[in-house]
């Protein structure tokens, strides 16, 4: 179990072509793809934690690396293209457990869990009530997606270097988030603090000075 994120922290979710589009129309379901492979009542998804992606360039680098990794195993006609990211507050994610009309959600939390050597990776884990019938889980996922998408800000558009020649670039199809554009809410001093902390921790982690739990 990783370190819980703070309530006011920001997280980001990358949008990748072609998975989030259907006939050039952005779809929130595939964007917030919720997995429940092992236990049907445990729903998971991946996010990028701002603490270890303190600048937008870090967020986008994460997205481009993810894309590159996916393309190692994909056919050229199924090429993954990172298009940008949307922002959510950790409080919005944890708030899923208390939303009226979504009583099936027992707990919702997001924790820091390094994955694929990505220091900024955070895992969303939603536990559904044990009494939720398996047939009902897909409908609950739709409700979760609708709630999270409603709180999303963005998009923060990006073109990875390898995709600069794409014309048109699919990022142009990303819609405005329902909660409006992303607004940087950290002061300049706080941003500098984030950067210094990140480089200190990142360097110490890379040289093996410590490991994350």
């Amino acid at each position: 179990m990783g370190k819980p994120l703070q309530q006011t922290d920001n997280v980001f979710r990358g949008a990748h072509h072609p998975v989030v589009f259907r006939k050039n129309l952005f779809q929130p379901g595939p964007f917030l793809r919720l997995w429940n492979d092992d236990n049907p009542r445990t729903i998971e998804a991946s996010f990028i934690w701002q603490r270890y992606a303190p600048a937008l360039s870090h967020v986008h680098s994460f997205g481009c690396r993810t894309s590159k990794q996916r393309n190692h195993t994909r056919r050229p006609d199924k090429k993954d293209v990172y298009c940008g990211a949307y922002n959510l507050k950790v409080s919005d994610i944890r708030g899923l457990a208390s939303i009226e009309g979504l009583s099936e959600v027992a707990t919702a939390d997001i924790t820091h869990e390094v994955e694929n050597n990505e220091i900024a990776h955070a895992s969303l884990k939603i536990e559904l009530d044990a009494g939720v019938h398996e047939d009902a889980i897909e409908g609950v996922k739709t409700a979760i997606v609708a709630c999270l998408w409603r709180r999303s800000c963005g998009p923060l558009l990006h073109r990875c270097n390898v995709d600069c020649n794409l014309a048109p670039h699919p990022s142009a199809q990303l819609p405005l988030g329902p909660s409006g554009p992303y607004v940087e809410d950290r002061s300049i001093g706080m941003r500098i603090f984030y950067l210094i902390r990140f480089w200190f921790v990142y360097t110490a982690w890379k040289v093996g000075f410590f490991q994350f739990a």
């Binding site: 998975v19 259907r22 006939k23 129309l25 779809q27 929130p28 379901g29 595939p30 793809r33 919720l34 997995w35 939303i99 009226e100 009309g101 979504l102 047939d135 009902a136 897909e138 409908g139 996922k141 739709t142 409700a143 997606v145 609708a146 709630c147 409603r150 329902p178």
Partner: protein, 241 residues
């Protein structure tokens, strides 16, 4: 190119457990036509008239020319005549691949779409595109992010048929993975989601304020009420382009 003129006479019932439909397919075209897919696990009662040159085994009772009842399972069947739906529409059938679901015959060959002379046929044409999308999702490779499994495909294609029956504008489509298809209508900040899994329909209406309504459709009475209400809901926007 051979052409047949056909008419429809059917009623639909739908439930969360089994999807059934009655239909009448008639025609006199003798060109070989392939019916692919269909309504897996659904039950179709069909009356077939006209000259049939050959046909595959929908069921053993199909060999009795005329009225038959068949349990329609996925597969490719060949018959000599074919019909279509929604009044009288000329349908070109030569070398066309068509899909039968919930008693509705869909052309999947874009070159053979019916001519549209009646405004109500616009919904039919629009739903042909939706049906094609669902066929495409079902036909994707295993592991594809948008791939849906066969029971979900069967359920979704029949729900689409019922939506068309009620003249509901075509929805946008997305998936959560192989176990469900979500039909989505949106207008302004309002969204209506219909989540279709193999044995359940879940309805969600959301707005900027949050979740406005959630319900599961559990029996035929609920289904009729839902689709009747859906028809009059003002939030239904235009279908995806």
């Amino acid at each position: 190119m051979a052409t047949s003129t056909t008419s429809k006479a059917r009623t639909n019932t739908i439930s969360t457990v089994a999807f059934t439909a009655d239909t009448s397919i008639s025609g006199s075209d003798t060109a070989a036509t392939t019916i692919t897919g269909g309504a897996p696990y659904g039950s179709v009662t069909t009356t077939l008239t006209g000259s049939t040159t050959s046909y595959g085994a929908l069921s053993s009772s199909l060999n009795n020319f005329g009225a038959f009842s068949a349990s329609f399972i996925p597969g490719t069947y060949t018959i000599g005549s074919v019909g279509h739906v929604a009044g009288t529409i000329n349908v070109s059938v030569a070398n066309s691949s068509i899909n039968v679901s919930n008693g509705v015959v869909y052309l999947t060959n874009g070159a053979a779409l019916p001519e549209i002379s009646d405004p109500s046929d616009l919904v039919v044409a629009s739903y042909n595109q939706l049906t094609n999308s669902l066929i495409e999702l079902h036909g994707l490779e295993d592991g594809d992010d948008w791939k849906i499994n066969t029971p979900v495909y069967a359920a979704s294609i029949q729900v689409a048929a019922v939506l068309m029956e009620y003249d509901i504008p075509r929805p946008a489509v997305f998936t959560h993975g192989p176990n469900s298809v979500v039909f989505n209508w949106s207008q302004d900040q309002n969204n209506l989601y219909l989540t279709i899994s193999k044995s359940r329909l879940s309805v969600l209406v959301s707005s900027n304020e949050g979740i406005e309504m959630r319900t599961d459709i559990s029996d035929t009475a609920d289904t009729d009420r839902f689709f009747s209400a859906l028809r009059s809901v003002p939030l239904l926007g235009p279908p995806e382009k």
